[in-house]
């Protein structure tokens, strides 16, 4: 760095990069760019030579004398001069605001160019057209913004002159003819005009709209920066940007693209080349990103320039939106490096990001034949039949047959097929192809640019790598890896990565709420346990009565006398026992909450025309039909009118428990009675369950360890929780029903017809079925928990509604003093993280003392 840092003009500060700090200037004067360059210089990282004209004095740069001083200082900083014969310097003008902002005036890159200096620069770059592109862009921006040449005329000239050299001459000629003055040769005059153009642009309607879009004050100033643009040979020079993490794996690895040539605007066209292929190697970039990651405690993002293979940074900032994999792996890495503590790491990853990491993917077992690999254009995974035309895709979808649309090209005619298909594969086109844009817009998995795939729509064949498939054959697509496999592959949520497991382990150490899962089948339960569930908080038994068993349960419900009912129940018992056995094995020694039958009766009754040829059945069904089945004879109420039902279910459950206990598995059974609103209902059901247990003990000699409890789904049950606790060893809030009954909302009706309007008009902040209503439903929960604990201090209390998997709801539930939340298996990791964050955030607001006084229970159930 040169020592030429004193301003040549008294009163007009020109601040070399790295000097802002010692002058006591902050972002308000230096702009975000000046601040970034300051910290890069202080970290000892290689930067582009440059200086800042502070925001409050930016207008001074429109004065040619001030601009001349700035150009002199820049020459001294860069040890190069504009117009020198060997490797001359060019100047770039950049603007930045005191806060990160979009819509800033675009940079002007080709200052210092004139007909005299051009030949030496062309020789240095080796590609004249690259220089002329930059040059004409510079003239265009100054002509429009500072010389008053009408934009329409300029656009016309640009359109008429695809050749950059001709375009430049036409623009220079136009400035002379239509401009307030000709385009100057003097670099200082060019800089002053460029500053005028940039400031005008920031004041223009377009600049105002951009500020409004980001809620920036209309009067937000900008700082101006001049950078020395050192020109080098095309093949060894370029510019690009990179983040410090691979977005897919999250591993530390410079990740981004660079473009050869001279940077002439913010958004280079074309796909560029990966930074791993940087001329001169990526080592310096890697080192800079490593330094910055530890400096920011975040994924780092840099803009850089290469000249003669030499790296110089143009910008550096924490990367605000790292991919979920990058966020998780960074947190784990920073903890390992002792730059972050575990609680901070747990708070640094959003629960939604964890959900994204458990995206659907192909369940590969190894050995699946890879058909082709393309670009991962739209995430998601699907298996389906090869479909070669849009029309066929629409047809297959209408028949309910999964279709994978395989195309060579995308036209508007393919859009319907693309929307109908389960996934899309294209042989041409990139990540920004029309097909990719449409697939992402429609949420379809897509693999694009699978160029090794040959498609012959006429013969109905596709082939790749010597493998040939026919239209209608099944293939499987993973839009996140870009892989296409021949044959069907099962799709399921991804398993947590090793890093995510570590992070979730830390979350488990910091959370107070237990996390269980709602699972009805052995497969769901196994998947929940795999994702870290501590037990099953809700097993709905309804599905055991549907499908092939429906006629049997129909007989129970429609039975006219006790014998008829008993006969039907016996027939059901064996099937249920087998179901429970599989489930209990999957649950292992963990708690399992089995909710006895809770289905509205109409789900079991024959519909019109279904078994309707039987007059007796039809008449009986008509007699049992309800006006409002959701509020009718369901849950414990059905058990009261069909007294054999619950004992039969419990008998099957207990028999299954004895079966698995013989195998050494001892699940902690919890029998849950649904839809109770009268404490006596619970007492009655509990007595029935106890009678079954006694009976089993008498017959088998086995005392089944079980606990009895109830769902709390009605406001009355919540208010009478103290009385319920007399009969219940646990309570579980069914927040879906409790929300319906607290508002008097019928969910099926209001969700489709009302809630969107209510949210739009501000009557509700969000759907209370998605995010718990803290004021109403939450208040009922608080009352119920207080009364239940007063009556029975060791009572276990949980939530098993969908809210149990929603991070915002979990934050509301955390302070209520629940023991656990139970959510769908795939939400378990989200709930684990959200519960830890809720606890940590609550502790932060309550202060250290409150945290210390809280008792964190050892186990949860």
């Amino acid at each position: 760095m040169s020592t030429a840092s004193s301003a040549p003009f008294p009163g007009v500060p020109l601040i070399p990069y790295g000097h802002g700090h010692v002058r006591g200037l902050d972002a308000a004067e230096l702009g975000t760019h000046g601040m970034e360059m300051d910290s890069l210089v202080r970290l000892g990282l290689p930067t582009v030579p440059g200086l800042t004209i502070p925001a409050s004095r930016a207008g001074d740069l429109t004065d040619t004398a001030v601009a001349r001083g700035a150009v002199e200082l820049l020459s001294a900083l860069a040890s190069r001069r504009v117009g020198q014969s060997e490797r001359p310097m060019l100047i770039r003008l950049v603007a930045s605001a005191p806060v990160p902002a979009a819509g800033l005036p675009p940079m002007v890159a080709g200052l210092g160019l004139c007909l005299d200096t051009a030949p030496a620069l062309c020789a240095a770059i080796g590609r004249a057209e690259v220089l002329y592109e930059t040059w004409s862009a510079t003239v265009r921006s100054i002509a429009e913004g500072a010389l008053g040449v009408p934009a329409d005329d300029i656009d016309g000239v640009v359109l008429d002159n695809p050749d950059p050299a001709k375009r430049l001459h036409a623009l220079l000629e136009m400035c002379e003819r239509l401009g307030s003055r000709p385009y100057p040769d003097d670099p200082a005059e060019q800089v002053a005009l460029a500053a005028t153009a940039k400031l005008a642009r920031w004041r223009s309607p377009r600049g105002r709209r951009a500020r409004a879009a980001q809620s920036l004050p209309a009067g937000t100033p900008i700082a101006l920066h001049l950078q020395a643009l050192l020109i080098g040979p095309w093949a060894r020079s370029g510019h690009g940007s990179a983040t410090s993490r691979d977005p897919d794996s999250g591993a530390f690895a410079p990740s981004g693209v660079f473009h050869r040539g001279v940077r002439r605007n913010e958004s280079p066209s074309g796909p560029g080349e990966p930074v791993t292929r940087l001329p001169g190697g990526a080592d310096l970039l890697r080192a800079a990103l490593a330094t910055l990651e530890h400096h920011f405690n975040a994924v780092a993002y840099v803009g850089f320039e290469l000249r003669d293979g030499e790296l110089a940074l143009l910008s550096a900032a924490p990367y605000d939106h790292p991919s979920p994999a990058a966020a998780v792996r960074l947190a784990v890495d920073l903890v390992a490096a002792d730059t972050m503590d575990r609680a901070t790491a747990v708070l640094s990853v959003a629960p939604q990001q964890v959900q994204a990491l458990l995206h659907p993917q192909l369940r590969l077992r190894g050995g699946e034949p890879l058909l082709v690999r393309g670009l991962a254009a739209s995430p998601g995974a699907a298996s389906g039949r090869i479909t070669l035309s849009s029309v066929d895709a629409v047809e297959r979808a209408a028949d309910g047959v999964p279709a994978i649309l395989v195309m060579t090209e995308t036209t508007p005619a393919d859009v319907p097929g693309l929307l109908a298909a389960d996934a899309v594969v294209t042989t041409g086109g990139g990540l920004a192809s029309h097909a990719a844009v449409v697939a992402r817009g429609a949420g379809r998995p897509a693999v694009c640019g699978a160029s090794a795939l040959r498609v012959d729509p006429v013969a109905g064949r596709v082939s790749a790598d010597g493998r040939e498939l026919r239209e209608g054959d099944v293939i499987s697509v993973d839009g996140r890896t870009g892989e296409v496999y021949a044959g069907a592959v099962q799709v399921r949520p991804a398993a947590p990565s090793a890093e995510l497991d570590v992070l979730l382990g830390w979350a488990d150490d910091h959370r107070r709420l237990g996390v269980r899962a709602n699972a009805d089948t052995a497969a769901d339960a196994a998947s929940a346990v795999r994702l870290g569930a501590e037990g099953i908080g809700l097993c709905r038994t309804e599905h055991q009565f549907l499908g092939a068993r429906l006629p049997l349960v129909r007989r129970v419900i429609m039975a006219e006398d006790a014998d008829d009912e008993r006969e039907a129940l016996v027939a059901l018992a064996d099937a249920q026992r087998a179901d429970f056995r599989d489930l209990l094995r999957a649950v292992g020694d963990r708690p399992l909450t089995v909710r006895l039958l809770d289905a509205p009766m109409h789900e079991f009754l024959p519909h019109d025309g279904d078994g309707g040829d039987d007059d007796w059945q039809a008449a009986r069904a008509a007699a049992l039909r309800e006006a409002n089945p959701m509020l009718g004879v369901r849950g414990v109420r059905l058990a009261v009118v069909r007294p054999g039902l619950y004992p039969a279910q419990v008998g099957a459950l207990f028999a299954a428990w004895i079966d698995v206990a013989a195998e050494g598995v001892r699940p902690a059974l919890e029998v849950m009675i649904p839809l109770v609103s009268i404490p006596r209902e619970l007492a009655l059901a509990a007595t029935d369950v106890a009678a079954v247990a006694t009976d089993v003990a008498r017959r088998t000699g086995v005392d089944i360890p079980y606990r009895i409890g109830t769902m709390v789904e009605t406001p009355r049950a919540a208010l009478l929780a103290g009385q319920l606790a007399a009969h219940a060893e646990f309570l579980s809030f069914g927040t879906n029903d409790l929300t319906q009954l607290t508002y008097g909302f019928s969910r099926d009706d209001v969700e489709s017809r009302l809630l969107a309007t209510y949210v739009e008009r501000g009557l509700l902040p969000s759907s209370p079925f998605a995010e718990l209503d803290g004021e109403g439903v939450g208040a009922l929960l608080a009352i119920a928990i207080r009364r239940a604990r007063a009556a029975r201090p060791d009572i276990t209390i949980g939530v098993c509604g969908e809210h149990g998997g929603d991070p915002a709801s979990i934050a509301l539930l955390e302070p209520l003093g629940l023991d656990y939340i139970s959510c769908s298996p795939r939400r378990v990791p989200v709930a684990r993280l959200a519960a830890a964050q809720a606890r940590l955030n609550a502790a932060a607001t309550q202060g250290e003392d409150a945290m210390a006084s809280m008792i964190i229970p050892e186990g949860l159930s």
């Binding site: 979009a102 695809p162 066209s269 790292p322 849009s390 029309v391 319907p416 844009v437």
Partner: protein
């Protein structure tokens, strides 16, 4: 390349039907009831699949034939020059649509970053300035193309009025949807295939790059 139109037209259609068929080929499909297209369906030029009506392959050939500007005509030469100017802008537009949908590292854009979204929106202005200039000149040769200026502008206006789907949503008249139609119409006018179009765009973009 589509087949050149032959002298014996197997589908005698009146002007309204021709216009409807051209429109259907340019759009690729129509959703919802389309009684005006019944005749085309009966003529084997369109297929009705549930709520969607699509042109058949023979319809695309037919429209390709009658849309094509005559070889060697001055219109064709002028439109070709403008089409060459269109392709780099087309590439830019797709990049911007992609930027709206996913962040630079490939993660989906969750629209939680107002600065990022404002920056993408701001850059649409550059594309829009470039395309309106091109459309204005195209309309000197093919007046019907003038409507795309208004349609694209309407999509941006809708976006600025708060409709965040107006940039890239596939089923509405979003900027990207309208743009695809314009692109398709240019290809029909010049009888250029998608493969040729893609190759030429790559060439023009890489030439302009650096």
């Amino acid at each position: 390349m589509t087949q050149p139109a032959t002298g014996t037209d197997p589908h005698p259609l009146d002007d309204a039907a021709r216009a409807a068929l051209t429109d259907l080929v340019v759009r690729g499909m129509r959703r919802g009831p389309a009684p005006d297209l019944d005749r085309l369906v009966q003529a084997g030029l369109a297929l009705a699949k549930g709520p969607v009506t699509m042109p058949t392959a023979s319809a695309r050939t037919l429209v390709g034939g009658w849309s094509r500007l005559p070889a060697g005509s001055p219109e064709r030469e002028r439109v070709t020059v403008l089409y060459h100017a269109f392709l780099p802008v087309n590439s830019r537009l797709r990049e911007l649509c992609t930027a709206w949908q996913r962040r630079p590292d490939g993660a989906p854009n969750d629209h939680g970053d107002a600065v990022y979204d404002a920056s993408v929106r701001d850059q649409f202005d550059d594309v829009h300035t470039a395309i309106t200039q091109i459309i204005r000149r195209l309309a000197d040769q093919v007046p019907a193309l003038a409507r795309y200026r208004g349609e694209l502008g309407a999509a941006l206006d809708a976006f600025d009025a708060g409709d965040t789907t107006a940039l890239t949503a596939p089923l509405s008249d979003s900027y990207h949807t309208v743009w695809m139609r314009l692109h398709q119409e240019l290809l029909l006018l010049l009888g250029v295939s998608r493969a040729e179009d893609e190759a030429l765009e790559n060439l023009l973009v890489s030439r302009a790059g650096g």
